[in-house]
């Protein structure tokens, strides 16, 4: 699964640590998600989406999907 968490975080100008505190996980978890080494749980995905005020599928999408088409 791919995501554009890093882009959104850069747009909002917040650090991994700050985002981690907001969604109540460790910085390592946010780092692993950004590097696409770990797929978050549905609950965490929804928390992140809520924090960025977006839909889950706007942030996380399958490998084959084209994010630009959204």
């Amino acid at each position: 699964m791919k995501n554009k968490l890093k882009v959104l975080r850069a747009e909002k100008n917040i650090s991994q640590e700050e985002l981690a505190n907001q969604v109540k996980v460790s910085r390592q978890t946010i780092n692993a998600i950004e590097r696409e080494k770990y797929d978050p749980s549905l609950l965490l995905g929804m928390k992140i989406a809520k924090y960025f005020n977006k839909q889950v599928e706007e942030i996380f999408f399958m490998n084959g999907e084209n994010e630009k088409s959204r």
């Binding site: 996980v25 460790s26 390592q28 978890t29 692993a32 080494k37 770990y38 978050p40 749980s41 965490l44």
Partner: protein
């Protein structure tokens, strides 16, 4: 009741674990305090028997406290892991999976080897398996942590 357990924070789990281990081993060290009867007369043997009964009672209490401590810390570690960071939980579960599979395979291998070549070593199979389990868990957690970093 279950909701109360789920919302309990389980403080001092590490301290309780260390104290429980110390209390458990206290019985081994304390038994040296009871001296054997000085003479073979009835009075001194009765006194020694009384001391021994008292000591057994104390060790039972200590062991009960220790076991309660182990249960408390086990529950504490469990709930802290489940409520904590989800990546840490995944690393923990993956490591447990590897450790359990390795221990199970080692169990069959060791049973085969010991039964055929060294039957008396079967007495120590639990010791071997626990060592294998702990070492595999530690190595697996390091490797899996590396995978996600």
């Amino acid at each position: 009741m279950w909701n109360r357990v789920k919302s309990f924070t389980f403080p001092y789990t590490n301290l309780v674990l260390i104290l429980s281990a110390l209390i458990l081993f206290l019985s081994f060290f304390g038994v040296g305090l009871i001296s054997s009867p000085e003479s073979a007369n009835t009075e001194s043997i009765n006194l020694w028997a009384k001391q021994l009964r008292l000591w057994f009672f104390i060790t039972k209490i200590l062991t009960a406290i220790s076991v309660a401590g182990f249960i408390y810390s086990t529950l504490g570690f469990h709930f802290k892991t489940v409520r904590g960071d989800e990546l840490k939980l995944k690393i923990h579960l993956d490591s447990l999976n590897i450790a359990f599979t390795t221990t199970l395979i080692s169990f069959f291998i060791l049973i085969f080897i010991f039964l055929n070549f060294a039957p008396s070593w079967l007495n120590y199979i639990l010791l071997f398996l626990s060592i294998i389990g702990i070492i595999t868990y530690l190595i697996a957690s390091l490797l899996i942590k590396d995978k996600y970093s």
